[in-house]
Amino acid sequence: MNFDKDLDARGLNCPLPILRAKKALAEMTSGQVLRITATDPGSVKDFAAFAKQTGNELLSTTENNKEFEYFIKHK
């Protein structure tokens, strides 16, 4: 999937992946896509809740080799 910005949130626990994603999205424009890589299993629910709350669309969630990858589209 194409993306405009990449955020490395590996090794981070809540709340940091969310806080950093929030900051990254604030620097992006409508329609752009942010890719986030994280390792905390808790981030799955966090990003779902974050997307729901902020109105940014969570395009996909995948897990590969203990790394979670999220694509979020700026609203």
């Binding site: 626990n13 966090d46 709350q53």
Partner: protein, 413 residues
Amino acid sequence: MSADGGVCWLDGLKKDYHEIFVEEWSPYLGAVLMILIILGLMVSGMFWGIYGGLKLWGDYINNMIGIGPLLGTPQQLETLLMHRMSLMNMTLVLGSFCAALLSRQFLISRPPKLEYVWATLGGCLMGLGATMAGGCTSGAFFTPVLHSSPNGWVMCIGLMAGAVIGLKALLWTLENIEWGMQAPPTLNVSPSLLSAYPWLGLGVIIAVLYWATDWYTSDNERHAARGVVVLAGFAMGFIMHRSRLCFARCFREPFMTAEGHMTKAIILGLAIGVPIASLLIEKKLIDAYLGIPPTFWVGSLLGGLIFGVGMIFAGGCASGSLWRMGEGHIKLWVAAFFFAVSASVSNALLKKAGLFVSEIMIDETVSTKLGIQAYYPVMLGNWGWALLAGGAALLIWYILVSYNECTEKFTVL
């Protein structure tokens, strides 16, 4: 049995395994199970706390590095496995480790360098805050609320304020600190090891069951009394990992994304627990004052505030740090280490400052410079008003969280 029947049975087993041991549980389920364990402890005359065990670990560390005598730490300490809270903390980590193996989520996770700073700072603040409040979120918030004491509610207010300050501080640093943000590569787990995880987890369960049974049926009275603690801690860790139960989240999330699942789960647990706990106390199965520190209200409020900031920095409170240690997060190992050291040091310093000088009041409760052992049934005269006060606080909390979920009025992001 036909071949198809065999395959179907195996598929069913895999599906069930996945649902129970891999899929995340609802925090509501987690909170209800947690309260059952705590009520079980109360029936055995015990209460749930974590701070005391961490402080003991800190005493050991401080004695080891030689500052113990300076602090006045006793050289003869209770052994790690005989101290009930220390034992329960250790089996809590084991329970979470086991659950993480069964779900194949166990991973030795190394954070970016900056996180070690947060872990150190967070751990130190939590150690100090817990010393002032007479415990962590478990021992000075959750347990006192269960024991119908306003101490827990005062700490709750401190924790919320601390969570807001902690979040604001983290946000500020995101804007202003560039150092140490790069994560080291994720450690690779070979597929063969990963597929062995569930079997290792099963091994841990069998070993812990053997341990608990062996102690429970032992002729040694001290062991026999602690068999139940082994099981309770293990179950607690297991449940907390499966439902990702987290007090830090309960206090932080309403101010962050406004999502209130974890908070409402804790409220539900308390709503079930408080009336049953009051029955156990009334039946004299446990002394209510055992779980109420003499910290109402100064210690509870200030301690809660400091602890709240610390748990946001560390990414977990005491119990949250312990179960994440079991999942393999190095950051929380560091946080717990400094929590322990700070608890031991803070305790010694506050003692030297005379804050713990205790007086026995007319009603035989204890009072210190940090506050008193406040207990609703005594303050308000009877159980009716006590339960009403506790229930009203839970209801107000629930309403605020639900209101915030719709309006996001309290978020600070």
